[in-house]
Amino acid sequence: MQRLPEGRRPAHPLPVRIMHWVGAAAIITMMLSGWAIYNASPSLPFTFPRSVTLGGWLAAGIAWHISAMWVLFADGLCYVGYGFFSGHFRRDIRPVGVRALARDLGAAFTFRLSHRLGHYNAVQRLLYAGVILALCIQVATGLAIWKPVQLGWLAGLFGGYPVARGIHLAMMLGIAGFLVLHLALVAFFPRTLVSMVAPLDAEERR
């Protein structure tokens, strides 16, 4: 844990802030370019408006997708390594008990859930753990449908190429759902946005 003088600590250590924004850029790039790829052969009864896709057509969508892939891969590796070794996962992300979750969910739905900068409540832990898991599955299924022969074992793990492609799409929808919720919560607590940019102090219990 990063310590400032007088025992203070930032709500989000600098590595987390950097990896958050690099990852956010990579994920949004991959999602919007993924929509351009999806549009070439939609497996659900809708397509994405071309104006919101990145690349606008299949080949350019793929070019964006495989470019951002390296950024997400590097950022994700750094984050997972950091998460384990710094204690960030254990301290901040690891979901807590069902009872704490029920309490915090109840508070959240009645708009009474308090938010202290630098502390993760049970709802946040569940959401962040969930989206990290979804991103890991997204990378694995992405590799499986990129190389279903060379990485045939990976495609086989997901039930073959068509199933892996379906899971990749489902995870995208899940991550998109997370983003909507995440942005809504940031809108409720705008100071969390500041704390992900500047080294705001963590709020201790008063």
């Binding site: 790829i37 999806y38 070439a40 052969s41 497996s43 071309r50 990145l54 690349g55 606008g56 057509w57 299949l58 080949a59 350019a60 793929i62 070019a63 964006w64 495989i66 470019s67 390296w70 449908i145 990129w146 190389k147 279903p148 022969v149 060379q150 990485l151 045939g152 190429y161 068509p162 492609r165």
Partner: protein, 250 residues
């Protein structure tokens, strides 16, 4: 295969829309602003973003070549898994399929010692090999089909090809073209298919000879072959020059 002229405008609409958008795009770029918002980054311009994307595609080609194994085989399936009906796919609609030209022969060119062209009968006389494999389109859909024909490695040896050359290029009499790396050309499942679904190829499935290469995306399996060239000069291809990544291995 019925010729339906009424279908033509509808079939061309997406392509026309894309070309129109590209025109808009270029005008947008001359304004020199809001590059991303005007759609720059679609591989059609000379902008820095497009140059960077092309560079990433070349990098991706090198990674894919490194991942490629000469011996790892694509999964094969029992006959019961063959997709019916099989989906037609080309850069044109099915009613534009060309018949096989009279006196068709397969030409060979480039770094080969035997440059005589091949009749279909002579190709049929070579050893044949069948496969039931998954055809995976770059668009994402896939289907399982049965093909059989002459293993390409065997054909390349028969024509005295320089097996250390970098590329094998395919030209088709329907105007299509593509190219592959030599390692993939020599893969045991890469064949010059003469039959599809246990019957001689018909024009819409690539008659009289097509490439069938299950270790690459579907657009590499060129139909209606006219010539094969072994070369060290990058040959590109119909889709590759528009932005489909060249290696496109699976």
């Amino acid at each position: 295969m019925t010729r339906d002229p009424a279908a033509k405008p509808a079939d061309l609409a997406p392509e026309l829309a894309r070309l129109g958008r590209r025109g808009l795009l270029r005008r947008g770029l001359t304004l020199g602003s809001l590059a991303l918002l005007t759609g720059c980054g679609d591989l059609s311009t000379h902008s820095g973003i497009d140059a960077a994307l092309w560079a990433m595609l070349r990098f991706d080609d090198r990674v894919q070549a490194a991942l490629f194994s000469r011996t790892r085989l694509a999964e094969t399936y029992p006959a019961s898994r063959v997709t019916k009906p099989f989906r037609f796919n080309a850069y044109y609609p099915v009613w534009e399929v060309r018949p096989v030209p009279d006196n068709w022969r397969l030409a060979v060119a480039g770094r080969v010692t035997e440059k005589a062209s091949w009749s279909l009968a002579r190709l049929r006389a070579l050893p044949q090999q069948g496969q039931i494999t998954r055809h995976i389109c770059i668009e994402g859909w896939s289907q399982i089909g049965q093909w059989s024909g002459v293993p390409l490695h065997l054909f390349l040896r028969r024509i005295g090809a320089d097996l250390r050359a970098r590329y094998v290029a395919f030209r088709c009499f329907d105007g299509y073209s593509t190219s592959i790396d030599m390692a993939s050309a020599l893969h045991p499942q890469t064949i010059l298919a003469l039959d599809f679904d246990w019957h001689p190829l018909t024009p819409e499935w690539g008659a009289p000879v097509r490439l069938r290469i299950p270790v690459k995306l579907g657009f590499k399996s060129a139909k209606n072959l006219q010539s094969i060239e072994v070369t060290n000069r990058y040959p590109g291809g119909y889709w590759e020059k528009q932005g489909y990544d060249w290696f496109s291995g699976v």
